[in-house]
């Protein structure tokens, strides 16, 4: 029961604590302790040193262990940086938002852990809706018009999307009519075991509804708009949290239904849908990058791109499936660095327009260099993590039954890289006209320390490739019935 307490109850208690204690520093310390405990225990669970004993509706398997670790990792760094972020002078109107910041963060942790650990579709749905509720007030942190609009759109679109996912879950019960599963509860485990007996028509319908509904939350095209608006207008730590972990929490729902559909005759159908979703996301990002104006929005689109790539990898299967799982780890880490550095730039220049930001490398050398390295990482330059996972995905596509997809993917990624690079190098290098050249040295901030630590972590995971991680991912592939 200790695991249930630390993963779900403790964040809830800590949220309640933050409601009553108004002092920001105390709230920060408590949240940090909770985050640290969460990270420690999920690491122990991942390493197999702690056997979980969760109550009904919750359980762990290789997939949830991996995603729980990703969530804990992202959440820990974000909480760590939050205090220095909140200490920055911001517009007076946003002061009241600080009061609820840590409360909502704790609530976010509890609901995300519950969603990832759930082994029942109903429980997953309740928890996934709760994640939306916890994150949408955080989007409206700056209390300006854009943020308000983004929050409304996110809340509304995702709520409707999740309602669709609920229809999908109901259709899944319908697919069990007339099989031994009739009248059984909606546990993943029982459904996966008896998947071949399910009614294929309802199973397909269920997959479509769950995929389309959750893709509003994952940010897969063409349902990505609410997600992109939210990520680009939220404060940087929240944007990093959304890109790094919230999207994966939604992805796990799709992966569960995919796991059920894999051994059945409808498997090919589900694969095709995932592949189309992934390619469509890449295409939308490819088009957007030609007219990029706002750098935070650009990063939000980059998340759409990478989640698209992950979905594509899952759909292709084989080595691409393994690559996709690696990709979700590396992407989550890189996105934290990118968003934190983008937040520093936004804070200093007080704009999000690409054209108004000039010679970052001169004015903010530390932020500038880290931003550049993180950009190179996200573009898949070795030895920075994403290179290895992308190579695996590409290899998987090449040796699959649809090798021609690789040409399309390469084409999209190349142009995304060029256009994104153009915008970012303009920000970093280009001097403004008639600017006085008095550069003051930038202070070493806490966010720089975190960025460096994360870069080291990213490179270490990629270069040393821990055996335990590899085994875990292979186990997930086995659970999905993927032949490597």
């Amino acid at each position: 029961m200790l695991d249930f307490f630390i993963f779900i109850l403790l964040p809830v208690l800590s949220a309640a604590f933050c409601f009553f204690v108004k002092d920001l520093k105390t709230q920060y310390s408590i949240s940090l302790i909770v985050a640290l405990l969460h990270l420690g225990l999920s690491l122990l669970v991942f390493l197999g040193l702690y056997n979980t004993d969760l109550p009904t509706f919750f359980s762990t398997d290789s997939l949830s262990k991996l995603f729980l670790l990703i969530l804990s990792n992202v959440y820990f760094w974000i909480v760590l940086v939050s205090y220095s972020y909140l200490k920055r002078p911001i517009i007076p109107k946003a002061e009241e938002a600080k009061k609820y910041y840590f409360l909502l963060l704790n609530f976010y942790l509890a609901s995300n852990s519950a969603a990832i650990l759930s082994n029942h579709f109903g429980m997953y749905w309740v928890a996934a809706e709760a994640t939306t509720l916890s994150v949408s007030p955080l989007i409206y942190f700056y209390r300006n018009e854009e943020a308000l609009e983004a929050m409304w759109k996110y809340l509304f679109l995702v709520s409707v999307g999740i309602a669709f996912a609920f229809i999908g879950i109901l259709l899944l019960t319908l697919s069990a009519k007339g099989t031994p599963l009739e009248g059984e509860q909606l546990f993943y485990t029982t459904f996966i075991k008896n998947a071949s007996q399910l009614n294929p028509i309802w199973l397909k319908a269920s997959f479509i509804f769950i995929f389309v509904g959750l893709s509003t939350k994952i940010g897969i095209a063409p349902m990505h708009s609410g997600d992109v608006d939210a990520t680009s207008n939220a404060p940087s730590p929240i944007a990093a949290l959304m890109s790094g972990s919230l999207r994966l929490t939604a992805l796990i729902g799709v992966m569960r239904i995919y796991q059920i559909i894999r051994p059945t005759s409808s498997s090919e159908f589900a694969r095709t849908i995932l592949i189309i979703g992934g390619l469509l996301s890449l295409f939308f990002v490819f088009v957007y990058m030609f007219k990029v104006k706002n750098f935070k929005r650009m990063l939000a689109y980059s998340s759409v791109e990478h989640l698209g790539l992950i979905t594509l990898g899952l759909g292709i299967g084989g080595l691409a499936f393994v690559g996709a799982l690696y990709h979700s780890i590396f992407n989550s880490i890189t996105k934290i660095i990118l968003f934190l550095m983008a937040g520093n730039i936004r804070h200093n220049y007080n704009t999000r327009e690409v054209l108004k930001v000039r010679s970052v490398l001169n004015f903010m050398p530390k932020t500038g260099w880290l931003f550049m390295i993180a950009f190179l990482a996200i573009s898949g330059i070795p030895p920075l993590g994403l290179f290895f996972s992308e190579i695996k995905i590409f290899e998987g596509i090449l040796f699959s039954d649809k090798p021609y997809i690789l040409a399309l993917v390469m084409f999209f990624l190349l142009f995304i890289f060029i256009n994104m690079g153009k915008a970012i190098f303009n920000m970093l290098y280009k001097n403004g006209d008639g600017e006085q050249q008095s550069y003051k040295s930038e202070k070493f901030e806490f966010s720089h320390f975190i960025a460096i630590a994360l870069l080291i972590l990213l490179t270490c995971i990629a270069v040393f490739s821990p055996n335990i991680l590899f085994e875990n991912i292979i186990n997930i592939a086995k659970d999905f019935g993927i032949i490597l």
Binding site: Y140, L148, E149, K153, A163, L174, G178, G183, L186
Partner: protein
């Protein structure tokens, strides 16, 4: 009996399509809440348990009293004008809805040949989901969008009873709580929107574009 309630549910959908008053939407939400609760109570009577009565009572409380009251409060606080301002006139939307419903009923009766299910509640639930989406698409006021979302949720609930999915009590209550909090948050956001943008229509939300 379930079929009668489902048909009444469908009639409430027609009313919501032809009305042009915002308050009527709230009334329809209340009527639908009562119908769903009665449906649940009938099921409980069939195999009675004290435990089973919790859900219909909570449903009644949330869908008939709390949410409609809250929406009415938001409407009067924001002094929203009574008319809904459609983008498509009611008399054009009505035939579209009728055609959609007929299609849904025919398709469900065909599908029911292979799978055992209650056709009328199934089709009524699905119709309600589609009508909810139509309302979100073809109405300008954001508060009406919230009502559309709730009609969609009610549809899903009816749909759930039709496919006889018995989710555990804990989860059903969780779903209700989630829906209530969503509406609560949407109300707060609407309040902010009306004070920031001096209006509460979709046309005010056009800042975020690529």
């Amino acid at each position: 009996m379930e079929n009668v309630l489902s048909i009444l549910f469908c009639l409430s959908l027609f009313y919501v399509i032809v009305t042009s008053r915002v308050k009527a939407y709230v009334t329809v939400l209340q009527i639908q809440g009562v119908l769903l609760s009665v449906l649940l109570i009938i099921q409980v009577i069939h195999n009675f348990s004290v435990y089973g009565i919790i859900l219909p009572i909570t449903l009644l409380l949330v869908k008939v009293i709390l949410i409609p009251r809250y929406i009415n409060k938001v409407i009067s606080e924001l002094e929203i004008k009574r008319r809904i301002e459609p983008t498509i006139q009611q008399m054009i939307l009505l035939p579209i809805v009728i055609v959609t419903m007929i299609t849904i009923f025919i398709v469900s009766s065909i599908l029911s040949k292979n799978t055992a299910m209650d056709v009328i509640p199934f089709a009524s639930g699905f119709s309600s989901i589609v009508v909810g989406i139509y309302i979100i698409m073809f109405r300008k006021k954001l508060i009406v969008h919230v009502c559309g979302f709730l009609i969609l949720e009610n549809g899903i609930f009816l749909f759930g009873t039709a496919v006889a999915s018995e989710l555990p009590m804990l989860i059903e209550l969780g779903v209700l709580l989630d829906v209530f909090v969503v509406v609560f948050l949407m109300g707060i956001t609407l309040n902010r929107i009306s004070s920031t943008f001096k209006g509460f229509e979709v046309s005010h939300l056009g800042r975020l574009k690529d």
